[in-house]
């Protein structure tokens, strides 16, 4: 089977997301698709499987122009899409999940014996043995991934699309996954492999296509490209000029953490961040960075260790306490944790500082109006209408509103968890400028980021975590992508631990 996407274009409203994209995948090959968030990878795949309709361009399947009516139609034609978020029913058993909506029946009743036998056979093809009656939620993510692949085989998939399959896998599970991919490849299955992890691309893919801003900027055999070339194609510019220059003048220690431990989540975390400094936290997904910050901020608990704020020991049991001590936390997930989408910008921005606006028990609305319009102007939130619903704003502007909340509440230590995720390029730069301004005013910033270039471009020091441990803290000036990645994958070769 061969699928050729030719000159695919697509726009959502005024937003052109794909422009003349060509992409080809064949049975028996692994074609990697890389690019930053928002580059158009998902949209392209959704067009391939028929979830979206292209505005222009054609798709040829084995030379014939084809459009699928939807993912189910695509699946029936041998194209299977394994999403990053696996849509499993965690309480249901493996076999029930595998046969969901495709149940085998015998005289109208479920034929459980046959389903169980077939499930085991498909899993055996992948070299996997597991208890098919176990609830799927009790299995590791790696195992669930195998089950997803087995499900694809059940539908006789000729082409399997995998979106970030290794994001949450351990090294060992990744090895197993690659073994299975290679085995199926030899049996003639083709793969589209979407990943942020460039090293993996070199290990598994035959061809690699880089997308940026809705355009396929390069497509070549993996053996002919280099890591640096890929990164350049992805970012589209030299990394240096994207980030504002930093002139850190670190003052005294603002927040200091010693031996912070919560069994099973993180242990022995020690670091310090100074006034006017940006300390980045790098690491793979699930390394425990967010968890450490949540514990410090009082959302989750920690069992042992100490936290000092400007020299005074503190142990926050709730965010309210942390905020009272001038701590701010921009959470990773702004829609679920950062904003009240149905409320106005005004109400969102005022919320953490609301107690300060009481006058004889009532809210001084004149003061809050002034406060909000000052912040909205200062952070160039668009639209600059304090009455607008937070949910109606773009991602970048929503993020600015969350920042305004914490800037407004007078945070002296600001934890920013993935501050630019899902934010467009222009707004990113504005957020970076704001971070610089805050540190100029002696605010200490902790920035969790999975975006390595951002970590290298916007921090003064980098703390790297791996599986709940702090692997080391390195000065940004001497750090490289490789040195950070080495620490982030659990190797401590050249780590320079720097306690403060």
């Amino acid at each position: 089977m061969k699928i050729e996407l030719q000159h695919i274009s697509k726009s959502f409203g005024a937003n052109q997301v794909l422009t003349g994209v060509d992409f080809t995948v064949e049975s028996g090959s692994v074609h990697a698709l890389v690019g930053e968030n928002g580059a158009g990878k998902s949209t392209l795949m959704n067009i391939l499987t028929g979830l979206h309709k292209a505005d222009g361009g054609t798709m040829l399947v084995d030379g014939q122009p084809t459009t699928f009516t939807g993912p189910l139609d695509a699946e029936q034609h041998g194209i299977s899409f394994i999403h990053q978020e696996m849509n499993n029913f965690l309480q249901m058993s493996v076999v029930d999940n595998m046969f969901l909506n495709k149940e085998l029946r015998h005289h109208g009743l479920l034929d459980e014996a046959s389903m169980r036998k077939q499930a085991q056979q498909y899993l055996a093809q992948l070299g996997t043995q597991l208890d098919v009656d176990a609830p799927i939620g009790t299995l590791s993510v790696g195992r669930q991934q195998m089950i997803e692949i087995a499900k694809s085989l059940m539908t006789d998939a000729k082409i399997i699309i995998m979106d970030e399959p290794t994001a949450a896998l351990t090294e060992k599970e990744i090895d197993q996954l690659f073994t299975v991919v290679r085995r199926l490849q030899q049996q003639g299955v083709g793969f589209i492999y979407i990943s942020h992890r460039l090293e993996e691309i070199f290990e598994i893919a035959d061809t690699v296509t880089v997308m940026r801003d809705g355009v396929a900027v390069s497509s070549a055999a993996t053996k002919d490209v280099t890591m640096a070339g890929l990164v350049h194609d992805m970012v589209g510019r030299d990394m240096g000029d994207f980030y504002p220059e930093r002139h850190p003048t670190p003052g005294k220690v603002a927040l200091s953490v010693k031996n912070l431990t919560e069994p099973g989540v993180f242990r022995d975390i020690s670091f310090a961040v100074h006034e006017g400094e940006i300390l980045a936290f790098s690491g793979l997904m699930g390394a425990g960075r967010t968890e450490v910050m949540r514990a410090i901020f009082g959302i989750d608990r920690y069992t042992s260790g100490t936290v000092e704020l400007f020299g005074a020991p503190v142990h926050f049991k709730s965010p309210a306490q942390a905020i009272a001590h001038k701590l701010g936390f921009l959470t990773e997930n702004r829609k679920d944790e950062g904003l009240i989408l149905a409320d106005s910008l005004h109400d969102n921005i005022v919320l953490p500082s609301i107690n300060g606006f009481r006058h004889h028990g009532l809210i001084d609305t004149k003061a809050t109006d002034k406060f909000v319009s000052m912040l909205v102007d200062r952070l160039t939130v668009h639209p600059a209408d304090p009455a607008a619903e937070a949910g109606s704003l773009s991602g970048g502007n929503q993020q600015k509103v969350v920042l305004a909340k914490w800037v407004g509440s007078g945070s002296q230590v600001l934890i920013l968890d993935e501050p630019t995720r899902g934010v467009d390029v222009g707004a990113k730069r504005e957020i970076y400028d704001l971070m610089n301004e805050l540190t100029d005013r002696h605010v200490a910033i902790i920035m969790i980021s999975s975006d390595l270039p951002e970590v290298l471009g916007m921090s003064d020091r980098i703390a790297v975590m791996y599986e709940g441990r702090l692997m080391g803290i390195v000065p940004t000036q001497t750090a490289t992508q490789e040195s950070v990645m080495t620490l982030a994958t659990g190797n401590q070769k050249e780590a320079v631990t720097n306690g403060n």
Binding site: I299, P319, G338, P352, I363
Partner: protein
Amino acid sequence: MATKSAKFNLRQFIAKLGPLVALILLVILVTILSPGFLSPTNLLNLLRQVSINAVIAFGMTFVILTGGIDLSVGSILALSGAVTASMITSGIPSPLALLIGLALGAIFGLINGLLVAYGKAAAFIATLATMTIYRGATYVFTDGNPITGAKMNNSFLFQYVGRGYLFGIPFPIIIMLVAYVILFVLLHKTAFGRKTYALGGNETAAYIAGVKTKLVTVIIFTINGLMAAAAGLIQTSRLSSAQPDAGTGYEMDAIAAVVLGGTSLAGGKGRMFGTLIGALIIGTLNNGMNLLGISSFWQQIVKGIVILIAVLLDRKSSKA
């Protein structure tokens, strides 16, 4: 984007003024069909009838704004009323008895709040359970018999609560208005009110923004219990009798008033003014249909249809 707010927006219009417009239309309709409706005595009569449901619904507005529900208000009404009535009949001074009655309601509400906030029980289930418990406690306390007695009839203060007049206005209406003003200010003018909206809009975000979500939840349920008890005292005084099955089904009328007033059951959206209008709509329907001599069986159907229309309009208007 900027022009959007200036432009006439049907959706926002329905959401904001819909209930008021509906009430006005209803009043016009009933007046045409039954001219006696607009007489001052009937209007005062209507407002007095509305007061019990309105007082409960004001408290319920807070609960529903947080995305919760309280099914136990009818039972709290009965239990607080019964305890107060028995205290008065056994000779306890009525001011003290009334205060204890209110305090009891607050405590029953507090228990609901603790179950929801700290027991992490779903509000529907927790208050379904306490609804049954408080009702059972009322039967145990009264042994199934209504509580009456000469002392209740002789206590001027107690009689005044439900049957008194102040400058020609029945006292229950005064209580309703005072409760409205206090809760209106609490919801729309204080930090506590903002926190209520934040909690209903997104509990996690509110928590991370420093709102003591559990405390707010507990206070809201306590207020709601207090309001239910206040309604219970009005009713007990008005009937000069505490009925063990008083208030059965009142939670539904209160919820209906809140929803008719445009408050979303999902939480985060709604206003106290809407609830007042919602309670008036229900009261006008009851009173108007009685005046028109509509059979009570049809009355229920009409009430149900009105609630349905309100909910459907609300769904339409809340769509983006």
